[in-house]
């Protein structure tokens, strides 16, 4: 299992490095959203709930954008069949793709979060950064799971680019709720409090349940 996940990861990352089809787009898109928000909301600096909202929305949209491309190479170039014929567990593909998505999201955040602090965030980022990273990590796991599962579903339908976001957004709502509510105090002025434990617990629980159903259902999406 580990061997096959490693093989899949190597292949995916190699394709991405060679074509750069996904990652730069995701990064640019998130920054564009910050600029968009400045004009749309007519604000030069934000904090608290508003800041948390903008950050999470930008990350989510970047994730949806990346997800659209996640399985495209495999679907269009016959890669699914090649994988299905190998004597490896089907869930290795799920693990590999979720990991790829997580890596992409982390890469996006490394650029987008400082960019956000620079462009729009009023309070200093530094004090709450540690907790913010944790909240982002928990949220990212859920986002990656949802977006991967949905992408696998959408990629072999007509209008695949449309279905992905449509199906994913309701599923992503609990993550937005938990993530934004938890991030809000970290992006506010004053003494930075720790995020309420209830939101972290909610994110963790949701992630676990998502992981379980993704694992259970993924095989059925690959068969013909």
């Amino acid at each position: 299992m580990r061997r096959s996940v490693a093989a899949l990861l190597r292949k995916d990352l190699r394709v991405e490095l060679r074509t750069l089809a996904v990652l730069p787009g995701m990064v640019l898109f998130s920054i564009s959203i910050f600029v968009l928000m400045h004009f749309a909301l007519n604000r030069s600096s934000v904090e608290g709930d508003l800041a948390a909202g903008i950050l999470w929305v930008a990350l989510l949209f970047a994730a949806l954008l990346g997800a659209n491309r996640l399985f495209v190479a495999d679907a269009d170039q016959g890669g699914f069949d090649g994988f299905l014929l190998a004597p490896v567990p089907r869930s290795a593909l799920l693990v590999a793709k979720v990991t790829t998505m997580l890596a992409f999201l982390a890469a996006v955040e490394v650029v987008a979060v400082p960019a956000f602090a620079l462009l729009l965030l009023a309070p200093p980022l530094w004090p709450g950064l540690g907790w913010l990273v944790l909240v982002l990590a928990l949220g990212d796991v859920g986002v990656a799971l949802i977006v991967t599962l949905v992408a696998a579903l959408a990629v072999r339908t007509r209008a695949r680019d449309l279905f992905g976001p449509l199906i994913a957004l309701p599923l992503l709502l609990p993550i937005v709720i938990g993530g934004a509510r938890a991030s809000s105090p970290l992006l506010s002025f004053g003494h930075v409090s720790t995020p309420a434990a209830r939101w972290l617990a909610m994110l963790t629980l949701y992630d676990l349940i998502l992981g379980l159903i993704a694992f259970a259902l993924f095989d059925f999406l690959l068969e013909e």
């Binding site: 190597r10 292949k11 394709v15 016959g78 090649g82 190998a86 068969e223």
Partner: protein, 204 residues
């Protein structure tokens, strides 16, 4: 249909487009579920025990099942890792198919015939016991076909199911002939018992 293919034999499937040849191959490859009847491949009934035989089959379909942005070497190395095959085998096949000079070029830069050769390498990489070949010689010039023959041809001495449009050549390789038309069996006979003309009727 009811058909048994012995080890080492070659089954050739003829039929016009849309007759179901590709479907048959995909069912045997465990990629499609059969609706009715029983299928046993290498002793394991499908779809229940399909997972047992997956690593022992080699499928060469219409699609090369390769990533166009990766090189021949990278594609084969990836498949080798998935199947648990040594990297040396990759080098071995690249040499056997005269691909060594072009092994570091992305596949999108190669001609269809060259890509087909890489696809053949992919299909036989893990030394499968059963080869499922969907018009393998398409896009291959005679020189390339000669290179490919020892791996997937009669001299490979592997059990094969071969779909072909080239009646004359394929008939020479067959032990059993299956003719499909519109999803039904139109002809099923040992190779000696049928003729090229009878098969050509199918295509009318």
């Amino acid at each position: 249909m009811s058909l048994t293919l012995e080890r080492g034999q070659t089954l050739v499937v003829f039929g016009p487009n849309g007759a179901g040849k590709t479907t048959l191959l995909r069912v045997l490859a465990t990629l499609l579920r059969p609706h009715r009847g029983t299928v046993e491949v290498l002793g394991s009934p499908l779809p229940a025990d399909g997972w047992r035989v997956r690593g022992r089959l080699g499928l060469l379909g219409h699609e090369p099942m390769l990533y166009r942005d990766l090189t021949a070497h990278e594609n084969l190395a990836y498949h080798a890792r998935l199947h648990g095959v040594d990297e040396e085998r990759v080098g071995e096949l690249l040499a056997a198919l005269a691909l060594r000079e072009r092994r570091a070029e992305p596949l999108r830069a190669l001609s269809r015939g060259t890509v087909q050769r890489v696809a053949v390498a992919r299909a036989v990489l893990h030394r499968p016991e059963l080869l499922l070949l969907d018009e393998p010689y398409s896009n291959l010039d005679p020189a390339a076909a000669a290179l490919v023959e020892p791996l997937i041809g009669r001299s490979a001495r592997v059990t094969r199911v071969l779909c072909s449009h080239d009646i004359g050549a394929a008939l020479g390789e067959a032990d059993v002939v299956l003719g499909l038309r519109g999803g039904h069996v139109a002809l099923l006979a040992p190779a000696g018992a049928t003729s090229q003309r009878e098969i050509a009727e199918l295509f009318r």
